[in-house]
Subunit: 174 residues, 2 copies
């Protein structure tokens, strides 16, 4: 096991600023490209990350701490942000993500005492018994997944443009 | 074709700052993990990016502009940074990358007039005829590839730690 709460928080606190530096001010060509029908562009990934902050990670953690394994936590709709018709700029969305993430890290730090709480369990509606530390490790890994997704989507925009170098760029074959 | 020089530069200028925000101050656990023997950790990826700035992108571009297709450009050793025994902190390496990248973007902007130079050709030692715009598109895509690599390597560190959520995290199966 590699999990360590402080190291997990190191990533959680870096993700919004990293994405803010990477995406703010980019042309729409970069922000709006996707991997084909039914796939997400960078802006939609940020909306999904905001939705996770609001309805997934901390709410589930609170639910686990309160209910233990007695009740499964409510399922999380991974596509709900696609119904969100609010038209905000990418910079506004990135700021919203950063703000709510920072609040959630404060909650995480106030709820969780590593020696006491990391091994506590809850009941996932699909997986059954899960642990607090697994939920937090998943939160971190979920951030990393979506950063990788954003850069992959952007890379694929140049799939034809790189000419014969496509051979050396494994990311374009995914 | 999606290539556009200004949009390409948008990514090239963001990569060092993005990685600086993401990696500075991270614990060694994150900076030193890799995907197994013969694979790179985050620090080695930054060394590879620095090496590319020194010996690949701009030198090849200059070579192409000077020689056209008359001479193939020298092959680029993609592993040379692994022989580099300098012990610098990750923050020093990130600063070195940012500094040389910014100088290289200035050179790019001074060498390349989009209307005049993007379709010029050179001779790749393996691929044969390549165009200036393909080299620059590859530079951009190469950045994106290595950002994706860094986050994938870090994500895999938690492969066991996420417990049953591994099912939802495709990045852990790569």
């Amino acid at each position: 096991m590699n999990f360590n709460l402080n190291e997990a928080i190191e990533v959680l606190e870096r993700t919004p600023t990293t994405l803010e530096f990477f995406l703010s001010g980019l042309s729409n060509g970069w922000l709006e490209c996707n991997e084909g029908e039914g796939t997400w562009n960078a802006t939609e990934v940020i909306e999904h990350l905001i939705e996770g902050e609001k309805t997934n990670w901390i709410p589930r953690l609170e639910f686990m701490l309160q209910e233990g394994e007695s009740k499964p936590f409510p399922p999380f709709d991974r596509f709900s942000h696609l119904n969100d018709s609010e038209k905000k700029s990418i910079e506004e969305k990135l700021l919203e993500f950063k703000t709510i993430r920072m609040q959630n890290i404060e909650k995480l730090e106030s709820f969780i005492e590593p020696e006491l709480h990391l091994e506590l369990t809850g009941s996932h509606p699909e997986f059954g018994v899960v642990r607090v530390r697994e939920l937090i490790a998943t939160w971190v890994t979920h951030d990393l997944t979506h950063i990788a997704q954003i850069v992959r989507v952007m890379a694929k925009r140049y799939k034809e443009d790189v000419g014969p170098w496509v051979e050396y760029l494994g990311i374009l074959k995914k």
